[in-house]
Symmetry: C2
Subunit: 204 residues, 2 copies
Amino acid sequence: MRYTSAALESLIDEFAKLPGVGRKTAQRLAMYILREPRAEAERLAEALLEAKDNVIRCSVCQNITDVGVDPCALCTSKARDRSVICVVESPVDMLAFEKTGHYKGLYHVLHGVISPLDGIGPDDIKVRELLLRFTMPQSPAVREVVLALNPTIEGETTALYLSKLLKPLGIHVTKIARGIPVGAELEFIDEATLSRAMEGRTVV
Amino acid sequence: MRYTSAALESLIDEFAKLPGVGRKTAQRLAMYILREPRAEAERLAEALLEAKDNVIRCSVCQNITDVGVDPCALCTSKARDRSVICVVESPVDMLAFEKTGHYKGLYHVLHGVISPLDGIGPDDIKVRELLLRFTMPQSPAVREVVLALNPTIEGETTALYLSKLLKPLGIHVTKIARGIPVGAELEFIDEATLSRAMEGRTVV
């Protein structure tokens, strides 16, 4: 045993399991917990268990929501444009769009992308649930599906797969623009991005 | 509310209170907890509360130990040299020395250093407890006290204060060497360290 307290040792071990937290950081976090009042540690402990017990997936958009709020607040909001669905890989991607305050439509969270190398096929992500949103009798009239997937091989593959599924249903399928990020310097942009930016040029 | 789940939001808030954890990292940690089985979250929650309930300070050396192990394992170990006490600022400093596997004496953890600017005087750190180790009737014969405090103004002040207290008790007071770290290049060492290294030169 490296520490003089078994309880401290096991707290450090648990912290070190978190992503991006090494032994040194785990040690610093554990020492912080020892210094703080017990109420602080209790709040974190409760928040951990409550998140596990109360967070579910919205039955419509598959985004995370609380027990008792299904469909989620976004899906039931009267303020959103129900004719557009933005398809994202994960809840954090949805959050990134929400932070812009610009997009007013609905979302659909796939919880993954198709990745044959990792053995992840269309049935392992929320594709069926996406299709249900167009085929259910009470479905709202969706005009457009915006594919907002990461610009990786897997993201592009998934986008291609979804567009082939959705177009026959008469849905206008688009994907977000690839191009130079705002504030970047052309000199330092990679070739692939520059090529995409040139291809996707728009009339000024 | 920025998130679609109140439980997730509060978990992110709690994670973000930890030192060195910003909103983005807190979000990543919370998402990790959502993905992991409930047992993982339970283990972390339990470890948090157990650390608060079971970790105490050793009544002799003031280092952290478990309830029921007081004096701590180090203080009661038969393998340690009881004639030397190494004085450190915090439990992590003690750990750093233990990792070397080189020092075989006892420790005393001050839990702070004297810092008049922050209103921390000798009575706010474990100085009285250190003196008790020499004045109690059953005290072992301590020959030497090694001051291993950080090389800061506060650390030096505390070292000076302690040496003035301990020398009259007939104790040999030393402090760890300041000099060039192993593996460093002289060219890049600051002037203060180089001066100390020159002052502290030893016969080869």
